[in-house]
């Protein structure tokens, strides 16, 4: 935290000598009021400066404010706050007049023995400041489904507790917890998105003002989706708005909705959008089914890759086996499909061509007769971590020995898959029969068993 505050301080102090001088003069007025026994005035002047947890700290104001908290002068006695201010001065001596350091150290030592176990509270306050507003909110999503969020001065992190059908989950939200951040009330937005089917969805939003420079605040926006007993991060907009002032504005939800919102787009999909920005940053929010499907595909791929023996070496000029594991099937961004042998020393690539996506499913494509339909087999001497079929960039040895199909028929069944960002996406099941391949040297091999590949493909216009 110290480094962050230092960075903020350096950014904030450049070009501001007059502001610093003005503050210094005001602090001296506060000290004078203190000496004259006008504690109400001293508090009025010194408190904002003392309790501003942004570098450079006004440790002179902090010193006298701490004395007033400790003795109940002009304020209710609050030894914890007094302790925290002295402790901050002790930790940031470069902002403290050297003439006061002896007293500061002695008073911190005193608090250490006076407060006992409460010293931890003092240390926490010294770290996070006094102005981090406590926030607590509970939202009921459905019967037996609720979420409670809490940020308290006692905890360094913003925590969420979710209950869903008897299951409980405690999660850290990962919101900023630096000194002096200001949380606006949490918001829960419920939407029913329509694709692929009507489904109620719940979005938790946090708006947080961060002090970024002297008298400057930046509004951050955090969006999560509540999914069963979990929370899925959707987006973070770090600079929704920047405002000037000693204190951030006290926005109502209607004010915030002029800056950013969660809503349905014309397709009935959930989307987040930044309205404050001229560029109107926006993105659709994928469904949980989509997230889970993508995650499952990734896991399956990773599991298959783990089984590969990378030390295996095979004869590169051998004829292809034409036996492929269906779980190895993958699609590229275009209408490319490929699969590999279990040991990943052989790969088959099919370019489906535009006709695969035209007319009724299933469609039949024939090598040599269907425009754009192409099938190749690549044979390697060693297992391939990655096949080059989805890239136009070729490295030496990427290709292996290529056997080109000169005959064969593929039957392709397509069923639409809901991909919120990719409308022309399908799950394709491709069965290749009667294929014959020829090597660069003219050797030929015929397919003796069916080849079936199943994967997600995108239409040709993607």
């Amino acid at each position: 935290m110290k480094l962050l505050m230092l960075a903020i301080a350096l950014a904030g102090t450049i070009g501001l000598p007059s502001a610093a001088t003005a503050q210094s003069a005001r602090t001296e007025q506060g000290v004078a009021a203190f000496v004259q026994g006008d504690y109400a005035r001293a508090v009025e002047i010194l408190k904002p400066a003392a309790e501003r947890w942004q570098l450079p700290f006004d440790n002179t104001a902090a010193f006298f404010m701490a004395l007033m908290y400790d003795n109940g002068l002009g304020v209710a006695p609050d030894p914890l706050k007094a302790c925290a201010l002295f402790l901050r001065m002790s930790a940031w001596q470069e902002n403290t007049a050297p003439t006061l350091i002896f007293a500061v150290q002695a008073l911190v030592d005193d608090f250490n023995s006076r407060l006992g176990p409460q010293m931890g509270q003092c240390m926490l306050l010294a770290d996070i400041g006094f102005n981090r507003t406590a926030q607590q909110a509970t939202f009921t999503l459905a019967a037996g489904h609720w979420i409670s969020i809490e940020i308290s001065p006692e905890r360094r992190a913003a925590m969420a507790h979710i209950e869903y059908q008897g299951k409980q989950n405690d999660l850290e939200l990962g919101l900023p917890n630096d000194a002096d951040v200001r949380y606006l009330p949490f918001t829960l937005t419920e939407l029913t998105s329509f694709r692929p089917r009507p489904e109620p969805r719940h979005f938790l939003e946090a708006f947080v003002f961060m002090p970024t420079q002297a008298s400057q605040w930046t509004l951050m926006w955090f969006v999560f989706e509540v999914v069963r007993e979990g929370l899925v991060p959707v987006t973070v907009v770090p600079d929704l708005q920047t405002v000037k002032g000693d204190q951030p504005p006290e926005y109502e939800l209607t004010d915030l909705r002029r800056l950013a919102t969660i809503r349905l787009n014309a397709n009935g999909d959930a989307e987040w959008v930044v309205l404050a920005d001229a560029q109107r940053l926006t993105d659709v929010i994928e469904t949980q089914a989509e997230r889970e499907e993508i995650a499952a595909e990734r896991l399956a791929r990773q599991a298959a890759e783990k089984e590969v023996d990378s030390t295996l070496r095979r004869q590169p000029g051998r004829p292809p086996s034409l036996a492929y594991a269906d779980s190895s099937s993958e699609g590229c961004m275009g209408p490319f499909v490929y699969g590999s042998s279990r040991d990943r020393t052989e790969g088959i690539m099919l370019h489906l061509g535009p006709q695969a996506f035209e007319g009724a499913s299933p469609s039949t494509l024939t090598v040599g007769r269907t425009l754009g339909f192409e099938v190749r087999v690549h044979v390697y001497g060693a297992p391939q971590q990655r096949f080059p079929f989805c890239s136009d960039v070729r490295m030496l040895g990427d290709e292996g020995e290529v056997w080109q199909a000169i005959a064969g028929t593929a039957t392709i069944e397509l069923s639409p898959v809901f991909r919120i960002r990719e409308p022309e996406t399908y799950r394709a099941t491709i069965r290749l029969t009667g294929a014959e391949f020829v090597s660069p040297t003219g050797a030929r091999v015929r397919q003796s068993q069916p080849i079936t590949l199943t994967t997600v493909v995108r239409g040709p216009q993607q």
């Binding site: 001296e28 000290v31 000496v35 004395l67 002068l73 007049a97 050297p98 002896f102 002695a106």
Partner: protein
């Protein structure tokens, strides 16, 4: 009192009060700027020698002294001021007590020194300057000896003063040595009474400190604890002549001797001029 006279008294009193408060505030502000010397200059008159010193000013004056606002810091001096500041009329009484304890650490000797400083103040000599020749001058101030000699100058840091000490005037003594053609030797002598306790009727000891100015250097010619006389009373006798108690003389061989007269009579030869 007739009304015009009463009004006149008010007019005279209120500005005086405001000025004192302003000065205290100025002194404390100076301290918060890190200017301990200015803090001492502004706060000391409000505290030292005052029958009812401003306790808040006393606390901050203690911090200024502790930081070295007037020469080397002496914890007993600051501690005494803090003890003095720890009065019920001081809104910062707790802090004053705490800081005093931090300085004396509940050590008997140190706590006694704090109590003496609180009760009797901090004694320092009257600063002075001596001209030894046209090109040889010694200034004695809170920082020590500043000697100017043949165009060069040198500060020999030294701190004088103590809890409740009462200094007789500083004395410059020229001792002519016997050897023909040899320059006289110059000594700066301090005599100070110090109280042993803070009680009203205390035992006092008279201390004698001797320094020799040799060219641009100042050499301490001290042996033993320097105690030369004792007395008991509410205050020590300040009108005595130091010569009746102790003096520096030249003996037959031309060496300088410290001579103590009275019940603690003794003669102690000082090292020759060239011996440091």
């Amino acid at each position: 009192m007739r009304l015009p006279a009463l009004l006149a008294a008010c007019i005279l009193v209120i500005p005086a009060y405001t000025t004192a408060q302003t000065t205290a505030a100025d002194g404390i502000v100076a301290l918060t700027r890190g200017d301990a010397a200015a803090a001492v200059r502004l706060l000391a008159p409000l505290v030292e020698g005052q029958a009812e010193p401003d306790p808040v000013a006393a606390l901050f004056l203690a911090l200024a002294y502790q930081f070295g606002g007037r020469g080397p810091s002496d914890p007993a001096r600051s501690c005494g001021l803090l003890m003095k500041a720890a009065t019920p009329t001081n809104p910062l009484m707790r802090q004053a007590e705490l800081l005093a304890t931090q300085l004396h650490m509940n050590h008997d000797l140190m706590r006694n020194q704090c109590a003496i400083a609180a009760a009797r103040g901090w004694g320092q000599p009257a600063w002075t300057t001596y001209t030894l020749s046209r090109t040889h001058r010694v200034r004695i101030d809170p920082n020590g000896f500043l000697v100017e000699h043949e165009g060069a100058s040198k500060l020999t840091p030294e701190g004088w003063g103590g809890a409740g000490w009462r200094f007789l005037p500083i004395r410059l003594t020229q001792v002519d040595v016997q050897a023909p053609g040899e320059a006289p030797r110059y000594f700066v002598e301090f005599f100070a009474w110090f109280p042993h306790t803070p009680v009203d009727v205390a035992e006092w000891s008279l201390m004698w400190f001797v320094y020799e100015v040799v060219g641009i250097d100042v050499i301490r010619r001290q042996q033993g604890d320097g105690r030369v006389a004792t007395t008991v009373g509410t205050a020590p006798p300040m009108t005595i002549s130091a010569d009746d108690v102790a003096r520096l003389v030249s003996d037959d061989s031309g060496e300088v001797v410290r001579v103590v007269i009275g019940t603690q009579a003794r003669r102690v030869p000082l090292p020759p001029r060239g011996v440091r």
